[in-house]
Structures are given as C-alpha cells and as structure tokens.
Amino acid sequence: MKIKYAIVLALVVIAVGAGIGLKMFFKPHADISKLKAEFKLDASALISEFELDENAATTKYSEKILEINGELKSKNKMQNGTDLLILEDEMQGISCQLDSVWASANQPTIQSLQIGKSITIKGICKGYLMEIKVSPAIIVNSH
C-alpha cells in the first residue's frame, strides 16, 4: 500500500511540476489594458526628468507601466504595420508603439486621433534613446 501511495504522490508532484513548467514556458506577454499604471504624469515632466538625469530616470521608469498625458505630434504606421504615436516633440519626445492586439480592435479610436490635441496613453517605458521609448502602449483617453 505504501508503495502505491508513494507512486501516486510522485505522479501528482510530476504532473503539478510539469504544469507549472509549461505555464511558465507559455506565459503570455503582459496585457497592458488590464494592468494598472505605476506612474501617472505629463509628457513634458517625464522628458525633463530624462534630460536632467538619464540614469536615474531609467532606473525609476524602465520596464514600469506609465500613464502619460501629452500633445500628439505625429501618427504613423510603421513598415511592419505597428501604429506609432509621437508625443510632445517629433525628434526628442515620447515614441509610443501601440499594442498590435489592442490597435486592431480599436482602429476607429486611432483613426479619429487629431495631431496637436491632448492624448493620454498607457504603456511600458523602455528607456531613453534620443527620445523616450514606450511600448507596447494603448490609448486611454483622447480629446
């Protein structure tokens, strides 16, 4: 009887272990629309922080979810089909690549965006490379 229990126990452990392993292996990418922003701030304030001390700002914001409000400067489709929004400054502003799943379900919102108007996006900050890179991002609010 003891051996039987040991075998059953071992099988259960293996099954659970394999389950956890597979779940980790197939873990999906983060769904931005369901995650809460850790920081809510204005685009200009975020840019100033990175310009003032890039290393400190990178440590503070990199890989964190940010909700950013700023002026939409441009809206483009990249070669691979990704929607690219730029806030505040065309060259040294905030570059936001929209989440492809969210974007395909929200094309009317993207199409109605107006250059020069205020917009709020939420996305993962990737750091600073001439401009602040945010991807993937979604639109939270547009006026």
Partner: protein
C-alpha cells in the same frame, strides 16, 4: 535645444529613429528570435561615421519567458541598458550615398553588455526607391562580450548569434 543647433548641419547627417535590429539563434527545441524596431542610428555624410544604438529592453520575443531570460540572465539590461556601435565606413566617399545599394565594410567598436570590441562588419548602403537604406548581417559570439550561457543550454544554442540590422535613413532635421 539640440534640434535647433542641428539645423545648420541638417544636410550632412542622416537618421533613423526606428531602425530594425534582430538577434537570432537556432536551437533544437525552437528558434530564438528577438526583434526591435526602436534602434536609433545616425550617419554622418561628411565623414562616413555611423553610430547605432539599441535599448536591450526593446527586444521582443515570441515568448515572454525568453524576453525575461534575455534581459535578466543574459544581457543584464538594468546594468547595461544599451548596445552601441560606433564605426566608420572603410575607404569612405560620399558619392556612395547617392548611388544604388552597394557592399561596404564598416570598422568600429561594438559595445554590448559593458564590453567593447573592435569589429569590422560587412554591410550594404545606398539608395533604394530614392531612399537611403542601410543593411547588415553579422555574427557575434556571446562569450566575447562576457555573456554567460549556462552549460546546460550552451550545447543547444549555436556558438554564434546572428545579428540583422535594417535602417531607412532620413535627412536630419526635417
């Protein structure tokens, strides 16, 4: 501020803010491909100097777990957030920028994971449909850049990683 000061030399520099860079390795289990569309590159038309930078965190993988391992275990992205290349086109002559896509060699310093190495890479540069494009495909050995790969998986991953780069350059300041 910086943009204003660049106005005077707008004709002599080309930039791409959304250059493509990928990192590929084949394993028996599955191929590992990390891609970024957020690299920045600047080409100085007067001197033939090329600067290329990518943020490690912008590399996107098919599986979230691969992305995690890439950033946390291998590249240590918090410690070394950027990969950089600063080089110069060998035997540079500005006329190649107005001709069709041609083979070039670029020699410079590749800085990855905090380690600098001088390398020469083969690339292509020139006009395609009236636009200046740059392409390159080269191989790197992770161990040369102090990137430790656990022995358990070392045999399964190819010794060299293949790097592919594509950039569509635009005149700076426009």
């Amino acid at each position: 501020m910086l943009v204003a000061s660049l106005g005077a030399i707008s004709q002599s520099k080309f930039i791409s803010k959304n250059a493509y860079i990928s990192f590929y390795s084949s394993t028996p289990l599955e191929d590992i491909l990390g891609e970024s569309n957020e690299a920045v590159t600047i080409l100085n038309a007067e001197t033939g100097e090329i600067a290329f930078q990518a943020l490690m965190t912008t590399f996107h993988f098919k599986r979230a777990l691969m992305e995690e391992h890439f950033n946390e275990n291998y590249m240590e992205s918090t410690k070394f957030p950027k990969a950089k290349f600063n080089g110069k086109i060998d035997g540079y002559n500005s006329s190649i920028l107005s001709g069709p896509v041609n083979d070039i060699k670029v020699t410079g310093i590749l800085s990855v994971h905090g380690v600098d190495k001088t390398i020469t890479i083969s690339a292509k540069l020139g006009l395609e449909d009236g636009k200046l494009v740059g392409l390159s495909n080269f191989k790197v050995i992770p161990e040369n850049y102090g990137i430790k790969i656990p022995s358990l998986v070392r045999d399964k991953i190819g010794k060299e990683m293949e790097i592919t780069v594509k950039a569509n350059y635009l005149p700076f300041g426009n």
